[in-house]
Subunit: 328 residues, 2 copies
């Protein structure tokens, strides 16, 4: 019997989840939940019900795992604990600093309800976290480095859009090649924010806007841009949409460690992602996590989990025997 | 209380394990077991007992996890099931084709004895297997590629040493750069053995040996070299020992997958290792696995496991709370 999946929220991530469910024969899309008018949604999957989010509780018992596709700023802190009362679930909560707080809230709700919840699935947090944990457990002496990009940062793009005179914008986060090379070469450098990443902004201004002021406002924006070498390129709205409409992303986690009696040898571990579509890949991770959640729930493991708690075999559709024979 | 570790076999891997234990404050080296005369062994760790392998059963109850450092050809198939009668243990059994058989033998012994055994820890099988499983679970559509090297293959070096007229030899396995680039570029090529790796041999011949015959014997050796583009370089014994005495290795696991409703986007996952010392790094993986085995045993999980069964958090000395706060 296929695992019945619900998608809660139908933006880029929800659509990516719909694609990921389609690729996994043991998963089946049971329903899509939306806060918009359900009649306004046309899912790609034939025949799948679109349900008002307000009616989600009626679906308790009809969904094996709910995949939450809302945002981390305001949606998930409310939705994940709330939905854990009725459903096993997976979310991609990605505000690193607030993970302990989110974990506690979801764990309380899921433990009380006897459901199984996995938070912060995705790639960072998620796969990158896994690789930090594996690499640091194996190489206790050394340095860990995370680089993001080249890829589109939605948060930074939004910040530019809020500047007066900006019609639309797209921001790419780009690792500094020399920094990456130094880490790969085993130098274990101490790197400032500026030395690790640059920020490339493509901006379409409104007619008559003061370009010099916009550029200045971007480059001096605290937290977002002031600590980085930032370049601003003005393009037409048409060009922006034609050349910068994708959502690529990626990055690398590196551990440069030391082995040997006198730590005389270097060992470098690198995990990297290169993604044409960030939301589709994130959704693919969530789909595999949903499989694991379904199995953990069946085994009586309730409460809040993260991918660090999941035996890797549970993510795969293959049996333990198949995994040992084919992939070990 | 520290986890008491036994090292069974004191070659390169055993010495690497001794180094790895030293780097982990929660692990403590309790004894080294050897089939050689214990008096002939001088461990690097001050005060650690060196015990004859034949007396190992006397140490039941005094070792929390035994790390087996013998070879996969003849040692581990016998030693792992035998030692699982008395000890929780970790081995690095790496004959991929015989893993199901080895697993069954160890599982029977460990289940009967109520011990916990983890086989095929290391990096391939081991970390590379993990990455194959994660990547295929997340990206069901696509191709998986494993490249090894540049690094020393002990088996291939030994094969050359058995040729008449060879004094010593070292063989490097080298990935073909163009093949790696094609996979990284998302082309998902079908690659033959010859297209994936080349083999570089450094050979010191005995005085008066027929170099042309040696080169010919190497290049036409079935299984080992005949299917590869192989280069043979003759060097002096001094040069061989001066320039080729290390045991570097590494490699990459890549998954080139497809996402999107019509599989219109590419996602590439790459995990790579660059190791100055293959045995020291392998031992570092075994040490982390020993920590997990100790915890799984304490939780009542007995029988044979692989790293695919281990929740990643169990490999780390940090608590779940610390991991969520610092590394997730």
């Amino acid at each position: 019997m296929a695992i019945r999946i619900g998608i809660f929220g139908y933006g880029n991530l929800g659509k990516g989840t719909e694609c990921a469910v389609r690729q996994n024969p043991d998963l089946e899309l049971a329903a899509i939940f939306t806060r918009r008018d359900p009649a306004s949604i046309s899912p790609m999957t034939e025949g799948v019900p679109v349900v008002a989010a307000s009616e989600v509780a009626d679906w308790a018992g009809k969904i094996d795992v709910m995949i939450l596709c809302g945002g981390s700023a305001t949606d998930l802190p409310v939705q994940t604990p709330e939905l854990a009362r009725w459903f096993n679930l997976v979310d991609s909560f990605d505000t690193h600093a607030k993970i302990p707080e989110h974990f506690a809230a979801v764990d309380a709700a899921a433990s009380a309800a006897g459901t199984t919840a996995l938070i912060s699935g995705g790639w960072d947090p998620g796969l990158f976290s896994l690789n930090r944990v594996y690499a640091e457990a194996i190489l206790p002496q050394g340095g860990t480095y995370t680089f993001w990009g080249k890829g589109v940062s939605q948060g930074h793009s939004d910040a530019i859009r809020r500047i007066e005179g900006v019609a639309d914008a797209r921001q790419y986060t780009v690792p500094v090649p020399e920094a990456l090379e130094r880490v790969r070469a085993g130098q274990r450098p101490t790197l400032t924010t500026r030395q690790k990443h640059t920020r490339e902004c493509y901006v379409a201004a409104k007619p008559g806007a003061d370009l010099a002021r916009i550029e200045q406002e971007i480059k001096t924006m605290p937290n977002y841009f002031a600590d980085y070498d930032t370049t601003v390129t003005f393009v037409s709205l048409e060009q922006l949409h034609a050349e910068h409409s994708g959502l690529p992303h990626g990055g690398s986690v590196l551990r440069s460690g030391l082995t040997g009696w006198n730590e005389e040898h270097t060992a470098t571990v690198e995990y990297s992602l290169k993604l044409d579509s960030n939301p589709e890949f994130t959704a693919s991770v969530l789909a595999a996590c949903a499989r694991a959640v379904s199995r953990m729930h069946a085994a009586g493991q309730t409460g809040c989990k993260t991918i660090l708690d999941v035996p890797p075999a549970l993510l795969s559709p293959l049996s333990g025997e198949e995994l040992r024979r084919q992939l070990l």
